[in-house]
Symmetry: C2
Subunit: 290 residues, 2 copies
């Protein structure tokens, strides 16, 4: 049972965790903390949080569980705000999409990695944001990756693991570096491609007409381009190294495809499409089975 | 009323048109034509077609409406097979995703553009294929683009337009070149990106794990990579010029994004993501209103 849960950043991610834990009856009190008054009022009226404050230090006071669900660019200030205010039995975890930058922020603020800190990343989300987007089922049958460090306290790790399981998630562990590399491939790179494609088309002269004749495939393909721009700017900067590697790799493969196209190499094109279809169909089968 | 409709290539596209016209009660007889016996038997048992033949000449005999819904690479042979077999009052239209190549095939086979030929392209589809994938509602509220030529008979154009309207579609006209350019941007390029991304990830060492931690965004983004590889090879080759232009354009934009990332240009990244989100949200609003 969590006595007092502090959600720092009450959006889709933090808000959905609060809703799920309330639904399970495993949290007594939820305090929300954020900048935007309107969002916090909305969160309270929707029952996502019980009360709120704009002050991080006040929010974490007496909390046994703190969930940082702010954009990556706001992590360091947020951590600074809670320094010296945490209860002795407090556990702090985060939901940032990149783990090395959060770990660096924690080190910078606390001078070391405190045992109570458990880096985490729920692999869930929609392109919507804000407390209004939160819903109880977001984490059901989704994966949450925890990337504990050598310094991480075993009990803290167990408590964070239990919290996400109570939200309905399947919790797995990996290293910080491995997380950032895998996510660069499956999430950060696709977002870059979708943003770039939509922006590229929007800047073409006949862009109105181009969008008018887009089919359902385009809608799905570009859904992630409706994601929060600030959040994604932060992710890019935070995962610059691995993302750049993936972008370079992808650009190389695209260059090869263009060469096949220009030389009219039907066999080469077909091979790529066949391999891709096979991999994608197998991936979907895997998702449906899990 | 269509007395005899010949569907050449009984898959998602041709099959769904047949089902929709039957549902509307505006077609008396549907003959299917294709290579695969199993698919044609399935189509007949599902009521998509009334009977079938493997011979194109036999299929079009006496038909007042012929719909070519074969892959682009099979168009020329198909057209050759129907030459000299068409009824005097027959109208021929196609559903190819690229229009210049079909028009070239028609010219090559008939020596000119016959008045009875109306090039067309229904902007609808799913990643599934075959007669089993066909469904009555596929064209409802979808757009069908017709690209009539100077030689195209007005009455033939009207009859094809009416047929697609009876399927529930909104019919618009544009030139062959404009169609191919717009579709290169909104459909062919996104498919290339999705195929390339999935293939690129599938070839990485840890590909099993990479796919395991992919989220919902990845699933949507890559849905089109499950499309028919042969169909897409044909589209690439048929629309080589415009597609290559779009690929080059996109590669340039991706290069600029990578430069912003490498220099840590937060403002530049944010601008791209904001413009993209705005354009994508506006596009979705437009789709929802139409």
């Amino acid at each position: 049972m969590i006595d007092k849960l502090a959600i720092i950043g009450v959006g889709l991610i933090g808000g959905s965790a609060a809703l799920a834990l309330k639904e399970e009856g495993v949290v007594k009190e939820v305090v929300g903390c954020g900048r935007g008054e309107a969002n916090l009022i909305k969160a309270q009226s929707l029952g996502v949080i019980d009360h709120y404050t704009h002050d991080v230090g006040a929010a974490v006071k007496g909390a046994d569980m703190v969930l940082l669900s702010v954009p990556l660019g706001a992590m360091r200030d947020t951590l600074s705000g809670m320094r010296g205010q945490l209860a002795d039995h407090a556990v702090v975890t985060d939901a940032g999409s990149v783990k090395c930058s959060v770990v660096n922020d924690v080190k910078a603020v606390f001078g070391e990695i405190p045992g109570f800190f458990v880096p985490g990343h729920p692999i869930a989300g929609t392109e919507r944001s804000g407390a209004e987007a939160a819903f109880t089922e977001l984490y059901r049958n989704r994966r949450v990756i925890l990337t504990p460090l050598q310094e991480t306290d075993k009990d803290a790790l167990l408590r964070v693991e239990r919290m996400w399981q109570q939200c309905g998630a399947d919790v797995v562990q990996m290293t910080v570096e491995h997380h950032d590399e895998v996510l660069a491939a499956t999430s950060h790179l696709p977002h870059m491609l979708a943003f770039t494609l939509v922006d590229s088309l929007a800047r073409m002269k006949e862009n109105d007409e181009i969008f008018r004749f887009a089919a359902g495939g385009f809608r799905d393909f570009t859904r992630i381009a409706s994601s929060n721009p600030v959040m994604w700017r932060d992710i890019c900067i935070a995962n610059q190294g691995y993302l750049n590697e993936m972008l370079t790799r992808f650009a190389g493969e695209l260059h090869e495809l263009a060469a096949l196209l220009q030389s009219g190499d039907e066999t080469g094109l077909l091979e790529i499409f066949q391999r891709a279809k096979k991999a994608r169909d197998r991936y979907v089968d895997g998702v449906n089975k899990s």
